[in-house]
């Protein structure tokens, strides 16, 4: 039992990311409103970004910007243990950009659909499609 608790505590960031991802995924599949689905899609994407950022965290390390980069104290020895892993941050910058790009395209599509059917509810749209 203590093992389980310590595991839950030790990796709580991972549990939060899984929770958020499940929320987002459920919303994308089960919600009826198109914009709500897009909100779910964004929550889903941010959850994955949270996961990547959690990979990069390192105990006892600081942000990945070198101190005294230039100037008289430059070229002192840099120890890898002092700085957080920068690679996941780089990847996630890209992922955030992809997220906002997808959001823009999805909203543009939603507006097109609204112009055609005058509603954003999926069941009402499908009813209109069936009538035609």
């Amino acid at each position: 039992m203590t093992d389980l608790i310590s595991m839950v505590v030790a990796k709580y960031n991972y549990w939060i990311y899984i929770t958020l991802m499940m929320i987002g995924l459920y919303a994308m599949i089960a919600k009826n409103n198109l914009v709500k689905k897009i909100v779910g899609m964004n929550i889903f994407q941010t959850a994955i970004i949270l996961f990547y950022v959690s990979i990069g965290v390192k105990k006892g390390a600081t942000i990945p910007i070198l101190e005294h980069g230039h100037g008289p104290n430059a070229h002192h020895v840099v120890h890898a243990v002092d700085y957080i892993n920068p690679l996941p941050h780089v990847l996630m910058l890209t992922a955030i950009v992809v997220g906002v790009a997808t959001l823009g395209v999805a909203l543009a599509l939603a507006i097109r659909i609204y112009n055609n059917y005058n509603t954003l509810e999926e069941d009402e749209i499908l009813a209109q499609v069936r009538e035609k």
């Binding site: 899609m41 996961f51 990547y52 790009a101 997808t102 999805a106």
Partner: protein, 496 residues
């Protein structure tokens, strides 16, 4: 210059997409020639690369001068050496063929259309050429985003179908990204070859297992493998014909390539077929995919939608072939990537020509079409025979290898599914021939014209169509050479 081919392959279309976009604001007439020139350069470099791979073996190109795994590198081996020319040539032929359609459908927006078109080809070529798992994700998103834009311009229902595709595509891409994250957390690397080197001690890890499952589900979503295919038929049917004849031949095939790359390079066959040993289940899934695709196609009364279900069935062929886990099956799957891209292009170009002239693609619109558009329908017959799998067209040979692989692996269910789907294809296409050949042509008011006046598509649409149709036969005739010189080097050691 030839040592820079890997860079030129992707960079030239990218730069010219930007130039096309500016040209769209200045003078629309420049867009098309620039796009054609760019894709010709890509096609040229991809063919050049294939010959370099044949002579020298695997090519590594370091981007930014950083050696992998620090930086990003391109790896061109026999597998993507074969797929690259297919992607670039299919895109080029479709671009030339669809000039008239684009001018007809988007007179004001040719600039953005060609920009998106060239960007999409850039994304697809990048996916095929890259050796970095995360870079693949970024390029996947380029190909998908531009694809959503292209597909959504069409009939009234196109935006809704595309939005569904967008949801599914985003879930798929995010799953892939998550899987790569799982691999990164246990190995610390993003380079495909490097991950493969670091993975063997970790084969028993639950994280690696989960990474494999998540990546596979993501890729299957993107390639519309049954039961994740629901988005595909509507998205492709309601789109404009220039876009659907680009996307239908290429996107699913490129995703099959990604799946084979994941199986062979990142996770290695040892993990996929020995440690996991779920290939029987996947092959059965492919059997269901083929059967369902064929049956659903039978139900359709609409040429374009029928073809989209055939695309779903063909995805089942390739996934099943790759998961048979033997030499003949994998050969068949790789060959089928090439053949199916050409076959699908052929039939979708025909649909494009029909839509251009008749403005419809339901079975009722096809009456008397053999008299009205004899050359277009002639090419359709060649494409249809190839999809059915009649020798000497190329479709026969890949199907032959797939059936051979199924027998060797004792997967008789897969063999039966292949034969069943060929039979259904015969029914499907001969029904279309019958309508086109025997029923008299009638226009939309129902007035019968007898005899029908010939109204063939313009020459710019017919020439690319015939290039494709003839290449179907040529690829079929030279199948032996392709297998002996290229495909057999794709097969990993230890495959029987």
């Amino acid at each position: 210059m030839s040592e820079q081919y890997p860079a030129l392959l992707v960079i030239v279309p990218l730069l010219s997409a930007l130039v096309v976009s500016v040209a769209g604001w200045v003078n629309k007439r420049w867009c098309f020639p620039i796009a054609v020139a760019a894709l010709s350069v890509s096609a040229w470099s991809s063919v050049g690369l294939l010959f370099r791979v044949l002579n020298e073996g695997v090519i590594v190109y370091k981007l930014g001068g950083w050696s992998p795994p620090m930086g990003i590198a391109y790896y061109i081996d026999y597998l993507n050496g074969l797929v690259l020319p297919v992607v670039s040539i299919v895109a080029l032929l479709n671009l030339i063929s669809s000039k008239r359609t684009v001018e007809q459908q988007f007179p004001d927006k040719t600039g953005p259309f060609y920009t998106l078109y060239v960007l999409m080809v850039t994304g697809l070529l990048g996916i095929v050429v890259t050796g970095d798992a995360f870079n693949l994700y970024v390029l996947l998103e380029i190909a998908s985003l531009t694809g959503y834009g292209l597909l959504a311009m069409g009939e009234e229902r196109a935006p809704l179908a595309t939005l569904n595709y967008l949801y599914m595509g985003t879930i798929g891409a995010c799953f892939y990204l998550l899987g790569i994250g799982y691999l990164y957390i246990v190995t610390g690397s993003l380079n495909m070859v490097d991950i493969a080197r670091l993975l063997p001690p970790l084969y028993q890890s639950k994280a690696v297992l989960a990474a494999f499952i998540i990546c596979m589900v993501g890729v299957w979503l993107k390639m519309a493998f049954f039961p994740l295919h629901a988005w595909l038929p509507n998205a492709y049917t309601f789109a404009n014909s220039a876009s659907s004849s680009l996307i239908a031949p290429l996107v699913t095939k490129v995703m099959v390539y990604v799946m084979i790359r994941l199986m062979l390079t990142i996770f290695t066959p040892k993990f996929v077929f020995n440690t996991l040993a779920v290939h029987d289940a996947v092959v059965w899934l492919a059997v269901i995919a083929i059967a369902m695709g064929a049956v659903l196609a039978l139900k359709e009364r609409n040429l374009k939608k029928m073809l989209t279900y055939i695309v779903v069935a063909e995805v089942g062929y390739m996934v099943g072939g790759a998961w048979l886990g033997n030499r003949a099956g994998l050969t068949g799957a790789v060959l089928h990537i090439v053949n199916d891209a050409l076959m699908t292009l052929c039939v979708f170009l025909v649909v494009g020509n029909i839509v251009y002239k008749i403005k419809g693609y339901a079975f009722g619109d096809l009456k008397g079409l053999f008299a009205k558009m004899p050359f277009t329908m002639g090419a359709f017959v060649i494409g249809a025979l190839s999809i059915i799998g009649v020798p000497p067209t190329c479709g026969f040979f890949s199907k032959w290898y797939l059936i051979l692989g199924a027998i060797q692996a004792h997967q008789y269910g897969f063999m039966v599914a292949l034969l069943f789907s060929s039979l259904i294809n015969v029914v499907l296409f001969f029904r279309v021939f019958e309508i086109g050949f025997y029923e008299p042509f009638s226009d939309h008011e129902g007035h019968e014209h007898h005899p029908a006046v010939m109204a063939e598509a313009p020459l710019t649409m017919l020439v690319p169509l015939y290039v494709v149709a003839i290449s179907l036969i040529l690829v079929g005739l030279y199948t032996g050479d392709i297998v002996n010189h290229i495909v057999q080097f794709v097969i990993p050691k230890g495959f029987m």
